[in-house]
Amino acid sequence: MLRFLARRLAQSVLVILGVTLVTFLISFAVPADPARMIAGRSASAAEVASVRHQLGLDRPLPVQYLRYLGHLVRGDLGRSYVQRIDVSTVVESRLPATLELMAGAIFFELLLGLPAGAFSAARRGTRADKGTMVLSFIGVSAPQFVVGLLLLYVFGYLLDLFPLGGYGGLANLFLPALTLGIAGGGWYARQSRSSMVDALRQDYVRTARAKGAGEWRVVLLHAGRNAVLPVIAMIGLDIGNFMQGVVVVEAVYGWPGIGQLAWQAIQQLDIPVIMGVTIVAAVAIVLGNLLADIITGALDPRIRVR
């Protein structure tokens, strides 16, 4: 297990290095001159040149990249062109809100998805199975801003059960997390159904039945324990998709997280913020994958020893 983790950790570091290289290169492809952005619109050519020299932007690319990496390692993501404060400070202030939203969303995804999938698999081929899968398909494919607005309208406005957006307590979290959770839940329902159908076909399920285990014990314990592994691995893999949804949902509910930050930064061509958010997202995705591996390893004895 330790060797397995060490190898995965090394892979993760490589992936993140790759992401930093790509974001670094992309920052040159963007039609915005950082020196000009910092010096200001009215600055003279000489002023821009001096800023450029100050930032080291006149040095060879590899040198610039190494400097950039050096800053990153120290937690320095650069300075925002627009807000003129450290990107790390901006990101730090936004991160808790997004993490909270993600935790809530994962909660709803699993709460809706896993039981629906297990139920569908256990009733495979019946009308209940088909109905559940149609619902999950609707959940996956409905645009999130529509779902978000609909939930907001019904539960926030008509029924007045939840606040109409904004950041704060659990009541504020409920609807945005549910919006993300409906899409994710539909997806997990499909994944856990196929994972469960697969597990239910295995020989050990026949053994469990031959022992005299009841149907629900067979489904939830014997097949479930095996079926849940690939699904859990997906939570980690899912964080990438998640980021897209987060941008939309944060906009609909006015949730002050990373998604909103990224959206604003893109509109303002605030490159250091865009790069910073990208790297934070990459780290989150890599950590998610790593976490998935650890959880899978903890549950699957075959991986644990390897």
Partner: protein
């Protein structure tokens, strides 16, 4: 049938069992009137080519065939006089693993990879209220020792992937025997194992059968296995039992042409193979069987009657010139003399 040592009532009596499966090309009959009895303490071998319906018969007794697509069209499965097919699901569940244990052909995949050996054996005890918690674990350890998997303390904590195929099949035995069943159904328990391990597992089954005083239904391709372990042999062909007799009797004087074909093409004693050697022609697949005897297309002794009318399983005498042999039955209009 041959009752063993005065026991009068069969433990298991399969009567005229017919099972069919719904498939894309319609409903096909797989078992077409199977009759088979097992008396207490008796070991019965069920042999036959691939696809003849041996596993379907076993799974019918356990009521573990998925339904749909499977359906029991007629017949009864009496276990101690009680029709298993008529039992409510809960009562049937209580039978499985308690009164009837089963092991399978695939030792590598039949254990759950995510639970320890100890848990999987203890679960069988707990499911039937025999023991729980620490007590169940201790009994699981004792069972492991009995099936020859030691040291139990260490094995209990291991996962299936840490064990060889032979050991896994022994663990399966421990699970099947945990509740001291009356009947053990072993569906080709050695087919997937190495030859030396095969012999060990067969010895184990023979020894535990005596120790536990249980009956055994041993399904196999391998006539050598049957000769070693079984009191009685039933030969299955195309969804029916075509001949049955004591093992010695059957080997000495087979009466059904199919049985004879099996023997003539069987390898020499002691030499085991995974598949039975072939008899010319093919087993008619379910759905392609005519109204008469299933073997008619491959039989050198076929009469006109054979294609039209299915021969019933009926007592047959010994070969010409010998004394009649009680308990020897064959389903044939023109048996081998």
């Amino acid at each position: 049938m041959i009752p063993k040592d005065g026991a009068s009532a069969p433990l298991l009596a399969i009567e005229d069992l017919a099972v069919s499966f719904g498939t894309e090309s319609g409903r096909v009959s797989v078992l077409d009137g199977v009759n088979l009895s097992i008396f207490p303490g008796q070991a019965v071998g069920l042999v036959g080519e691939s696809g003849s319906g041996k596993s379907v018969t076993a799974m019918s007794v356990m009521r573990l065939l998925p339904s749909p697509p499977s359906r029991v069209d007629r017949g009864r499965i009496l276990f101690r006089g009680q029709d298993l097919l008529a039992l409510p699901a809960g009562k049937m569940r209580a039978m499985r693993g308690d009164r009837i244990g089963m092991i399978f052909q695939e030792p590598m995949t039949s254990l759950n990879p995510t639970f320890t050996v100890g848990f999987q054996i203890a679960e069988a005890l707990a499911l039937h209220g025999k023991a729980r918690g620490v007590a169940a674990h201790e009994r699981a350890g004792a069972l492991l020792e009995r099936v020859g998997v030691g040291p139990a303390a260490r094995r209990l904590r291991q996962y299936p992937h840490e064990l060889s195929g032979g050991l896994r099949q022994r663990v399966m035995m421990a699970i099947a025997l945990a509740c001291d069943p009356d009947l053990l159904i072993a569906d080709e328990p050695t087919t997937a194992l190495d030859v030396t391990i095969q012999a060990q597992i067969l010895d184990l089954i023979a020894r535990l059968r005596a120790e536990f005083g249980m009956s055994v239904l041993l399904i196999t391709h391998d006539l050598g296995v049957v000769a070693e372990v079984c009191d009685l042999v039933a030969v299955m062909y195309a969804g029916r039992i075509v001949e049955q007799a004591s093992a010695a009797r059957l080997f000495a004087a087979p009466r059904h042409p199919y049985t004879l074909g099996l023997m003539e093409s069987a390898p020499k004693l002691g030499q085991r193979v995974k598949e039975l050697p072939t008899i010319p022609g093919m087993v008619p697949p379910p759905g392609k069987r005519g109204p008469g005897c299933g073997f008619v297309g491959r039989c050198g002794r076929a009469l006109a009657r054979c294609a039209a009318e299915p021969p019933p399983l009926a007592p047959v005498g010994g070969p010409v010139g010998s004394s009649a042999s009680p308990g020897h039955e064959a389903a044939c209009w023109n048996p081998v003399p």
